[in-house]
Symmetry: C2
Subunit: 214 residues, 2 copies
């Protein structure tokens, strides 16, 4: 897909999100994409999925609580700090423009994990503007495209983490996208027992390799 087509995908995500968010009993909207059989894709053509659910998902809750705790202690959004830090450090950055940054997280859970994040604070994905969508599309297409080339069309999942739509205030959260290539050996006994993921490459090395594909 070219960048305009990618922007249209995010436009469709937003469109569906806005339609569903105020409906009764809908408190979180999960938007995700599975690519490849090993990533759980049940149909072969490219497709994304959306599940509108009545509960705040546990993993979202962990991030919301973490962001809130960080804000209380430091009076800054932890994701804003992260985006600025990575943009300055450079070594884990895959690609960035003035609005968005794609980088391999310092504590990557999987080899070649990439997060795409708005640089300006925004808790709510659905408030993205049309011009931001174009900027997002550039960074996302370069970020995901680099994984596609580096790992020769690997199976992967990506999803949007954004604030719940239950009407409460989530002003300290910061929406973002997490891209997770499926690891060559699946998360197994140790990961299932402990919740600690073993990755096989340093994020700095992964990012350097991904940058070379762009």
């Amino acid at each position: 897909m070219n960048e305009m087509e990618v922007a249209e995908v995010f436009d469709a995500f937003q469109d569906r999100y806005l339609d569903l968010m105020n409906k009764k009993n809908i408190n979180y909207i999960a938007i995700f994409h599975n690519h490849g059989r090993e990533a759980g894709a049940s149909i072969p053509h490219p497709h994304s999925q959306l599940m509108a659910i009545p509960v705040i998902a546990p993993y979202i809750k962990l991030e919301l609580d973490g962001a809130e705790r960080y804000y209380r202690s430091n009076k800054h959004c932890v994701y804003c700090v992260m985006a600025e830090y990575e943009s300055n450090e450079k070594k884990r950055v895959v690609f960035e423009n003035d609005e968005f940054i794609a980088f391999c997280p310092f504590a990557s859970r999987a080899a070649f994990e990439v997060w795409v994040m708005p640089k300006k604070h925004n808790p709510y994905f659905e408030r993205i503007t049309d011009s931001q969508k174009i900027k997002l599309a550039e960074v996302f297409q370069k970020g995901l495209g680099s994984i596609y080339k580096a790992l020769n069309d690997p199976p992967y999942n990506f999803y949007i983490h954004t604030s719940p739509c239950d009407g409460k205030d989530y002003s300290h959260f910061h929406w973002h996208i997490e891209i997770l290539p499926v690891p060559p050996t699946p998360w197994a006994g140790f990961e299932l027992e402990t919740g600690i993921e073993v990755s096989t490459i340093q994020p700095e090395v992964a990012a350097e390799f991904l940058r070379k594909q762009i």
Copy 2:
């Protein structure tokens, strides 16, 4: 394996655990087993693994905190309550004797998930007695054997959740084993995004099917 051989495996687990638990910087000992390539097994013959780590693993922390909260509110161990409730209800039980129970958890994360739990309160796996090991071996062998037969030698993981060995008091926890057959479709975008697992069968139906294999 027959029951005596299974008991010897648990004896080996305990032996290694006791050797490691008081060593410096070891605060949790993860014992787990991967069976089948899809379950992350890297060598084909049956093998278990042990990782002695300096941190309290996040998933253990969640269970410890949950058990503590439940105890404060109810003055009972939540796992004792669970074992007794399932033993009375019967419909989710796969097999039990006077010391141990194997059952499909009410909120199973995967189809045919089975937990094996001592009926008497005990936070610490390493304190299991020789006679309890024989009782455990009977229940574990029947429980895992039923999965083996029902699903025709599927890939699976199992692991022991027990109290940390950091010297603190975990008297409200209750050690147990979790057996997780690998789902036919992998945990994908929705599970990774939310931490909510989608299972394809009710635990009562799964348990009934497993009981028929014994």
